[in-house]
Amino acid sequence: MSIAAQTMKKFVNAPEDVVKESLAGLAAAHADLVRVDFENQVVVRKDAPVAGKVGLISGGGSGHEPMHGGFVGRGMLDAACPGEIFTSPVPDQMLAATKAVDGGAGVLHIVKNYTGDVMNFKLAAELAEDDGIDVASVLTNDDVAVEDSLWTAGRRGVGVTVLLEKIAGARAEAGGTLQEVADVARKVNDRGRSLGVALTSCVTPAAGSPTFDIASDEMEFGVGIHGEPGRRREKIRPVSEIVAELTDTILTELAPANGANLLAFVNGLGGTPLIELYVVYNELTKQLADRGLTASRNLVGDYITSLEMAGVSITLVELDDELTALWDAPVHTAALRWGV
């Protein structure tokens, strides 16, 4: 296996061990926050289950780090279920996570809208209900690159997932009921939209070669976080033009109120340096100002990635007082931390 590993530009041993070894590293680095159940491959908040608190779990294929394992902790997720790279986890993981975080107030399943994830979470929810655990599910589907119609599996769940996990987690920490936590989660998804662009492809350890080919002067506009194709392939343009189109497309679908306050999230897909993410954020603030909109809150960094893909996604969520207060509430996870 190490032979295969050596032919790619990755720090790995055997490709099939990457997920488990990475989880071991996460557990060692953040033993104060999480514990990892290796048998079920689940990352669990250290003090779970928190009695009387609604439990939040999410999951999906690995390769999007820090999502979701890096979001487990106080004020965000109670557990995360990492699947193999880019492959949905199985219901057994989700069931184990659900049981591990059930503090008696029920458990919320946060599911990104991909056929595999949806089906596996659906089966897990049925199994949990059989065990008498109260489960609610919310679906994130914010990627405007995909039209939401009978002709597709629907918009994909991307950047909004991160913001929703933070905000719903704060609601649960504040004692919200399962219904209340699920409601605010759906509210974030309804008020949020995203769009991304890739300059290079990711490389999965199993494949060892790029997921898609792209010329040195091309970008994939509307790329998915698994390297799924976007709206179109085109020549790379100056960042001002790229951000202008991303912002336009997102706002057309989001249609926020005049002068709305937005949570502006500039997300790196893994291989784009921070210096460029701030250039993108600078362009975004100009675009918003031109439209009389304000980024009253922001997040800039790599939070929902696609391995080493060079690219960026922008997520905009229309805030109100409730969402702003929940966003500002303390959070303590490996990847997001403030107020504590």
Binding site: G83, E84, F86, T87, S88, P89, V90, P91, D92, Y114, T115, G116, M119, N120, K122, L123, V146, L150, W151, T152, A153, R156, A206, A207, T211, G224, H226, G227, E228, P229
Partner: protein, 217 residues
């Protein structure tokens, strides 16, 4: 080569083992098909799942009823595959097994009811209709053909052979379709001209059934 009209646990085991062999042999081909319109893991997923099923079967004792075997196989797929095909094929086998109940043997009619239940489970979970460019495009015509043949009184082996042929036709018919379900749907018109991986693995599984039934037990 002898022919039987009644199916038992041995046949069901041969079916699952034969499916595992075929999916392993065709693993890379299935993955290539998925690379073209999906995320290049269908072969890996099905191979991982069915090899786990084979391991699981060895743990079952001799007397286990065919229905139970299928339920166990379905649960194993659900627990090991992930992705879309795990829940879909897992549910299909579980539903088929439940419909067979605890009988030690069953006839063509019972097999047909079982596969109808399987199809129902797949459609319930995935909400795909024929023409959506999914495994349903192979499974649905197969179950239809099976029903017709059995109602017409043909023996199980012949009925299953007809089902397999119908599945192959359905599989080929996915090529010109535009996918409207699963990952392939993100491609829009660019999914046209490619054969659906899930419909392809469905044909392999039906071929394995045909062979399992054809062999004298």
């Amino acid at each position: 080569m002898g022919c039987l009209t009644r199916v038992d646990a041995a046949v069901v085991k041969r079916w699952l083992e034969g499916s595992a062999v075929a999916l392993h042999e065709q693993r890379d081909y299935l993955t290539q098909l998925d690379a073209a319109i999906g995320d290049a893991d269908h072969g890996t997923n099905m191979d991982r799942g069915f090899s786990s099923v084979v391991t699981k079967l060895e743990e079952l004792d001799e007397t286990t009823a065919p229905g139970r075997i299928l339920v166990t196989a379905g649960s194993t797929l659900i627990s090991t595959v992930g992705g879309a095909s795990g829940p879909l094929w897992g549910t299909a086998l579980r539903r088929a097994g439940r419909s067979l109940g605890d009988a030690a043997e069953f006839d063509g009619e019972a097999l047909t009811l079982a596969l109808e239940a399987a199809l129902e489970g797949v459609v319930e979970l995935g909400a795909a209709r024929p023409g959506d460019k999914t495994m349903v495009d192979a499974l649905e015509p197969a179950v239809h053909a099976l029903r017709e043949q059995v109602d017409a009184g043909s023996p199980a082996p012949a009925a299953i052979a007809a089902a397999r042929v119908a599945a192959e036709e359905g599989m080929q018919a996915t090529v010109p379709l535009q996918a409207t379900k699963g990952r392939a749907s993100y491609l829009g018109e660019r999914s046209i001209g490619h054969q659906d991986p899930g419909a392809t693995s469905t044909v392999l599984i039906l071929r394995a059934l045909e062979q399992a039934v054809a062999v004298p037990s």
